[in-house]
Subunit: 457 residues, 2 copies
């Protein structure tokens, strides 16, 4: 890598928007979870696709690694420049370019966050559905294949990205997909890019599917004495085809963390939080049917409401869960697991995980998007205590093994990054070699987010 | 290509299940549409993945092209061995391997047809939703990225294939995806294979998503005086978020063809055919709301029913449309167009197409999955008359140009095959080069369905 030459050329291109200040490097060297500080050599703030193209060309010429950066909220250290080089921060490419309400889609720059997008959409009667807990960037969300609480109804990023503009490793710009709702025209390059974690190209424009704001929404929460009962209620709800828009599980420790963090007074036991979208009669019916299922499984005090303020309070609680849990052990860092299993195996995956955690010396509250078979344990350890980190890793390892044994995946939504690289061989076998082949074909020099996703050289 | 050596080795492997009879070669040299007879050199009928693997290894060793064959119903000559070599017919790999009702998924061999699968699922309360008009194989449907009348509600093959087993060009066998409902673990190889038309690998096992048979179904048909009114009614229905399970358009010529073919008595004008899935109250409400929209657009005599026999008659008519239309011009062959545009452009695409057809000397009835913005014209020409074929091609060409100008795609569901290869450059630009790069990486010898999808060498 010829770093000085590259930085020279990048400086001429970007002026002040190329930074090598310690502050900036440190900001782009940290991650939301437990990975060590890994500052890059420089940070670029492009404003246009043409600039991104120039940046990639310069880096390609000088063999300098290029790693994209959205909002830096990913949980597996994806955006850390582990081989040094340049971080490309998309925060100045934050424009909503075109809202096409009649087609129910929108074109955005990658730095737009999901909250900013929904803010812009307020007047249209439409919304963008994918909602990871953090206020992530849409570019980062596409790059990690993110999902969220509403994916059980509206799908993940895979189902909601219609088209992309991508800068490839050699600086070529391509457009993938189009504005039609479906196409059988060639390989699905859009799908290949979604979840590629910045290793195949930098996303510079995204066309996203929108959904109509439902006429009526009802949301509610139900307590359960035992985790198994809550999970069985989920299974019945999904299998009976009740169209949940959200169905989230939190365990007793999470409920306690909410209470301490936000002054709420949830009973400190497992809960399901649900939401239904439809007509006023439809959501009332769905809520009532869910209530019956919950009762069949000894659910206690299911309450639902169609009032926006009640709903907001409920989901603010859920969306702050990670921070509430972290706050329950001051000074701790977190290793977040993310397994996803076939729904029929969910009860087993959760109860075995629970039993394993009960033996552990560190806390690991469980919560998740159980309608998809996806749940997390937030394993908290003292960063000064290597034995605790080792224990967190061992617990996480057993969870992943369990998920793979049950026909599931190591990561339902957070992605591979650094934390799950060690499971790619077990999960994909020769398929991982194919991923490596694709990467080598598209980025022969290996400059795009090196050290991630494919087999390390 | 060392054909004799390859045939020797294949003969030892397969015995009677390797055929070079003229009858078999001709059967596998014809297509449903207008392409000339193109018999391969031999046809293999494997029964196991291990046999497919051996077949591919032998062909790779001797440089012999390998082209998969499902039910041979594709409309763009996809399965024709245009560079000779071996056709691998999957009809003897036709087992439903495992139905997991609790997980609402199923694993099948590629030769299972969609009708056979739904037959097997009868007792489970579940169904497989994708329904191209023909009784296609599930392997072929995945390979072409097929969709059908219910895709507006349940998605295309892209959304309904969860996992695959694939034999690659060098004989390696990989598994892509898993049984979890979502995964962020690496590149989406399943998505890359869906729609790859047998050019990246042969699909030997598919895990498919199933849906619950709805509690109630209502279906109905409505006549319109003008095509524009019918299309506007579609737009309103989609934009108001009425959850149509099916919404199909047929024009006056198609209605006339139905009547002649099946002795029905539809008014010979444009129609919409719709279906709703849900609770009894829900489908009644949806039907009524659709009825109001239709009336707003001067729809005439909308009738709906929840009786199974009425519904069956309606959809049998729709599913036989292609044959009914062909029968309206005895001896004709068909070139079927397949454009798909953003829904807001649908009215324009349909009316401009209609106007163009009105000037033509050959008939081209229009029908389609309009809820997705996708429609077909069945251009019928006398195979003995080259001027008519030329006219069909010119009409088709203008339709594709129109679709691309309107932000759409040359093919919503039928795929590229031979008929749409000429539009790949215009539709994808440098993206087509990327497809070519991927193909070369995964099949450097170019033995898998050569001559299709990527830039001809
Ligand atoms: C409290 C909390 C809750 C969370 N909940 C969820 C959840 O429910 N579901 C979920 O899926 N995730 C969740 N996450 C994880 C995180 O929010 C997602 O992974 C998110 O998609 C990351 O987006 P980002 O913009 O922060 O990306 P970053 O962290 O900045 O980057 C992520 C990856 O994308 C790449 N990248 C970023 N932008 C681009 C671009 N324009 N082009 C190419 N590559 C790019 C980076 O190189 C990196 O590999 C949560 C995180 C937190 C902190
Ligand atoms: C009357 C009629 C109506 C139709 N309506 C629709 C419609 O509504 N929607 C729609 O999408 N299509 C429609 N089609 C087109 C056709 O049915 C689809 O393209 C279907 O997916 C083809 O499946 P098949 O099994 O016949 O595949 P084939 O025609 O046998 O093969 C298609 C392609 O798939 C490849 N292939 C087949 N099996 C495998 C395998 N196991 N592994 C790898 N590659 C394989 C072949 O090499 C070829 O490239 C219609 C066709 C007809 C005749």
């Amino acid at each position: 890598m010829h770093l000085p030459q590259a930085l020279n050329a990048l400086g001429s291109l970007l002026g002040q928007r190329l930074s090598t200040s310690k502050h900036d490097l440190d900001l782009h060297g940290r991650s939301e979870s437990y990975f060590a500080l890994t500052p890059p050599d420089a940070v670029a703030y492009p404003q246009t696709t043409a600039e991104v193209q120039q940046i990639v060309r310069i880096c390609a010429e000088h063999g300098v690694p290029v790693t994209g950066w959205g909002a830096g909220t990913s949980l597996e250290g994806h955006a850390l420049a582990v081989q040094g080089g340049l971080v490309v921060d998309f925060s100045q490419m934050d424009k909503v370019l075109e809202i096409r309400a009649a087609d129910m889609d929108v074109t955005v720059q990658p730095g737009v966050t999901r909250e900013a997008l929904n803010q812009e959409l307020r007047a249209t009667g439409l919304f963008f559905s994918v909602d990871p807990g953090a206020n992530a960037s849409l570019g980062g969300m596409a790059a990690t294949g993110a999902s969220g609480t509403t994916s059980v109804r509206y799908g993940t990023m895979r189902e909601n990205v219609l088209a992309l503009q991508v800068v490839l490793a050699d600086g070529r710009v391509i457009r993938t997909g189009n504005q039609a709702r479906k196409s059988a025209s060639g390989y699905d390059l859009t799908g290949l890019m979604v979840g590629s974690e910045g290793t195949l190209g930098l996303l510079t424009e995204l066309t996203l599917r929108l959904h109509g704001v439902p006429e009526a929404v009802s949301a509610g929460v139900c307590a359960f004495g035992r985790i198994e009962d809550a999970v069985d209620a989920v299974l019945d709800t999904i299998q009976m085809g009740i169209p949940v828009a959200r169905i989230e599980f939190v365990d007793a420790a999470t409920a306690a963390a909410f209470n301490a963090y936000a002054g709420t007074s949830l009973p400190e036991c497992p809960h399901l939080m649900v939401e239904f979208h439809g007509s006023p009669e439809g959501v009332a019916q769905d809520s009532a049917r869910f209530g019956e299922i919950a009762e069949d499984h000894d659910g206690l005090g299911f309450q639902w409401s169609t009032l926006e303020e009640d709903r907001r309070a409920l989901w603010a609680m859920r969306h702050n869960a990670y921070y509430a849990i972290l706050a329950s052990r001051p000074g701790a860092r977190a290793l977040v697991t993310d397994i996803c299993v076939p729904i029929s195996r969910l009860a087993r995956a959760v109860t075995e995980t629970q039993a394993d955690l009960a033996q552990a010396s560190i806390p690991g509250p469980i919560l998740g998007h159980v309608g998809d078979g996806n749940f997390h344990s937030i394993l908290m350890f003292d960063p000064e205590n290597p034995a605790e980190l080792a224990e967190a890793k061992a617990l996480s390892h057993r969870m992943v093994q369990r998920a793979l044994d049950l026909g599931g995946t190591a990561t339902g939504e957070h992605g591979v990054g650094m934390g799950k690289l060690g499971y790619m061989q077990r999960e994909h076998g020769a398929g991982w070699d194919v991923m490596t082949t694709l990467k080598q074909a598209m980025d022969p020099q290996g400059i795009l987010n090196p050290g991630k996703l494919i087999r390390p050289r």
